[in-house]
């Protein structure tokens, strides 16, 4: 199965990169942008049949290494092949 993990800065944490991109989009004439946030996408291919087990391990991976819980949130989607 393929797992897509999305990691984003928490709402309470300022995102200077997102802010800069917002300004750039606005200077291109795009209006009505209330916020831009930049995150990371991690794609993992994993050799599991059991979805429950995959969910459990992906959660562990995120908490241990992939996201820093002080500043980041994560969520993921599991896609069967």
């Amino acid at each position: 199965m393929i797992v897509e993990i999305y990691i984003t800065l928490k709402k309470t944490v300022s995102d200077p990169q997102g802010l800069t991109v917002k300004h750039a989009l606005e200077s291109l004439g795009y209006k009505g942008l209330t916020d831009v946030r930049i995150g990371k996408l991690v794609i993992i291919e994993i050799n599991f049949k059991d979805k429950k087990r995959a969910e459990k391990e992906i959660n562990q991976m995120c908490k241990k290494l992939l996201a820093n819980p002080i500043i980041e949130d994560y969520h993921f989607k599991i896609k069967e092949q």
Binding site: P16, L66, I71
Partner: protein, 233 residues
């Protein structure tokens, strides 16, 4: 005194740290490869600056799982002296040996210049040769030095005098204008509650000889040596 300088893949201030402790301070020092776990006989461990593991994922996020880091956590638990400089500071944060986290610099630029920092607490083993409030000139060189901690964490740091250095003007004025990276409360360096682990973004090893324009950083290492000598006497 015996120093150890940890070498991760991508460390690039390891040689400077070794040079300062060996040739400027005339102390015994050795490299510790990140796969080594033996810290026997060491009085102080230095985590140097650089780009460990290419700064992939987050700065310090991968280095903190190196074999050596388990030993360093044990060493710190027993009261051993640990100093993390720049990337070393980032690794200590990821490892949870110091509280908080580093965000990308507010201006999004890699900053490489001399800054001024104020000694906020000189009652530590790292700063006993400075005066309280003394302004130091040291270089910074980083992309993620924008220190962040939540409100409760910041209060905790203040209540326990854990903020050791703050970015300031050459005269010691603290304001946003003299904050190079957006760090919360101008924080440039902090210590753990126990007082034996220091993390700082400026580079004392690059400011330890007159020829480099400033030798203000040298007194961090000299403070450590003095403290260790007093304790052993």
């Amino acid at each position: 005194m015996k120093f150890g300088v940890v070498v991760f893949p991508g460390s690039n201030c390891d040689q400077d740290c070794l040079y300062v402790t060996r040739d400027v301070l005339k102390q015994s020092v050795k490299y510790i490869w990140h796969k080594d776990t033996n810290l026997d006989g060491l009085d102080c461990v230095i985590l140097p600056g650089g780009f460990s593991y290419g700064d992939y994922l987050r700065t310090g996020a991968i280095a903190r799982f190196s074999a050596v880091m388990k030993s360093i956590a044990g060493f710190a638990r027993k009261g051993g002296t640990v100093i993390g400089i720049c990337n070393g500071f980032q690794i200590l944060l990821e490892a949870g040996l110091l509280p908080g986290v580093m965000l990308r610099n507010k201006g999004l630029h890699f900053i490489c210049k001399h800054v001024y920092i104020k000694t906020e607490n000189n009652q530590t083993r790292f700063t006993n040769l400075y005066d309280r409030g003394q302004v130091l000139k040291m270089p910074v060189a980083h992309n993620e030095g924008n220190y962040y901690i939540d409100a409760a964490g910041l209060k905790d740091l203040k209540d326990n005098n854990q903020i050791i250095f703050r970015y300031c003007s050459p005269e010691g004025e603290l304001s946003g204008q003299f904050n190079p990276n957006g760090a919360l409360d101008n924080i440039a360096g902090i210590i753990n509650k126990k007082g034996n682990v220091l993390g700082m973004m400026p580079h004392p090893e690059r400011s330890s000889e007159k020829q480099l324009g400033t030798e203000d950083g040298c007194f961090i290492f000299k403070s450590i040596v003095k403290w260790l000598q007093m304790r052993k006497a």
